[in-house]
């Protein structure tokens, strides 16, 4: 049965598809073993021969992945929708108004709850990533609290935020580390924008968000396009490159439009952070497994 455990580890599919596929192969092995036992082979050898005849678990996992890895256009657009919404709201200067924030927060929360309770489909992860944005901004805003309060807030906020993030990551790692990379895509972008508006200032001025609305819209539009291409592309290695290249491009857009607030070193740090967030989940998955 270790063959099936090994195959389960290699499979990067939605849980319902994974379970059905493994059941189908399991049924195949059972039937073949029974025939071999009737032909005179001992139990253990019959099972071994049945598994051997299936071939490489890694190859099967790769082939079935390519069958299901390409989402439909509908799924691609559904996955890109949160970034499209943010881009549109900034372009129309409806963000960061209170009405815009509340509408976006309600839509994203409702969609995430729906997706989480309905099998965590692949389109859910960009929505989860957008849900992380308020948490990131809140964390950075802690530095603007009156002195003394920053440490207290950090000691209570950071463990809670880390706990929620670890919970989501652990659940997602069971399926595919690339989903976590997709989820974390907006993080360096949001960090970049907040740094662009707050570096060198005593306080964070929300007026900057209005002024840079077009650039922020552009950066999220690039993210939306990234998600669409990621969803439509079949090969795994290509999906990784589709995440890396636009992310660096988006960080470059943020730095260039920051009016030299973020230096080259800031660009480099943000790019390295982006690479760590995209590729880091692969290492975490290896450690966990």
């Amino acid at each position: 049965m270790s063959y099936l455990h090994e195959l389960r580890d290699y499979l990067k599919l939605e849980p319902s598809v994974k379970d059905e596929f493994l059941l189908e192969l399991s049924s195949h092995v059972e039937e073949k073993s029974r025939e071999l036992i009737e032909a005179g082979l001992p139990d253990y050898e019959a099972k071994l021969e049945a598994f051997r005849a299936l071939g490489s678990a890694k190859l099967i996992a790769k082939q079935i992945y390519e069958v299901y890895s390409q989402g439909t256009w509908k799924q691609a657009l559904g996955a890109a929708l949160p970034h499209v919404l943010i881009a549109a709201l900034f372009a129309l200067r409806l963000l960061p108004t209170v009405a815009g924030i509340i509408t976006l927060a309600a839509m994203v929360t409702a969609t995430v709850i729906y997706g989480w309770c309905h099998g965590k489909p692949n389109w859910l992860f960009p929505w989860l990533g957008v849900l992380l944005i308020p948490a990131i901004i809140t964390g950075i805003m802690l530095i603007y609290l009156p002195s003394g309060w920053t440490w207290f807030a950090a000691l209570t906020y950071i463990p809670l935020a880390a706990f929620v993030l670890v919970l989501i990551v652990r659940q997602t790692l069971k399926r595919d580390w690339l989903s976590i990379s997709l989820m974390l895509l907006p993080v360096p972008l949001v960090l970049g924008w907040v740094l662009a508006f707050s570096l060198g200032n005593e306080y964070f001025d929300a007026r900057h968000l209005y002024q840079a609305g077009t650039w922020i819209a552009l950066s999220f539009a690039i993210l939306a396009l990234t998600v669409i291409i990621f969803t439509r592309v079949k090969q795994r290695w290509l999906k990784i490159w589709v995440l890396v290249i636009p992310e660096i491009l988006v960080i470059t857009v943020v730095v260039l439009s920051s009016n030299s607030t973020i230096s080259f070193w800031g660009w480099l740090l943000l790019s390295l952070l982006a690479l760590a967030l995209i590729l880091g989940p692969a290492f975490i998955e290896k450690k966990v497994k």
Binding site: E24, L25, S27, K32, A53, G55, L59, E66, V67, Y68
Partner: protein, 111 residues
């Protein structure tokens, strides 16, 4: 024998569609029939049949349905769809034309 493998790659879909068009079949049954009907010529790595079946199902050419047997075992039977029949006929037409053209070249008709 990578040439043989390339030939098989291009022929897998019509072969599977044709078998399934005859009657509903499950994976292990397809493997055995393939080997028997081809007199041992086609010997799939059994596990790789299933991604091919799932690919055809995702394309809407076949449809899978679970059935529970009296001994508690479950099997996923595949049936061909209308779209699958159409594609099968087109592929077979192409194959016949191709095979005929190759035969004309390698074994010219005698007068």
């Amino acid at each position: 024998m990578s040439y043989k493998r390339e030939l098989l790659k291009g022929s897998t879909d019509p072969i599977l569609l044709h078998l399934i068009s005859q009657k509903p079949m499950y994976g292990y049954q397809i493997i055995k029939d393939l080997e028997r009907m081809s007199r041992g010529y086609f010997q799939f790595k059994e596990g790789t049949l299933y991604p091919a079946l799932h690919r055809l199902e995702k394309a809407g050419l076949i449809i899978g349905k679970w059935e529970k047997l009296s001994n508690g075992q479950v099997r996923r039977y595949y049936n061909i769809t209308e779209k699958g029949l159409q594609v099968l006929n087109e592929r077979l037409e192409t194959w016949r034309g191709f095979a005929a053209a190759v035969n004309l070249i390698v074994a010219p008709a005698t007068n």
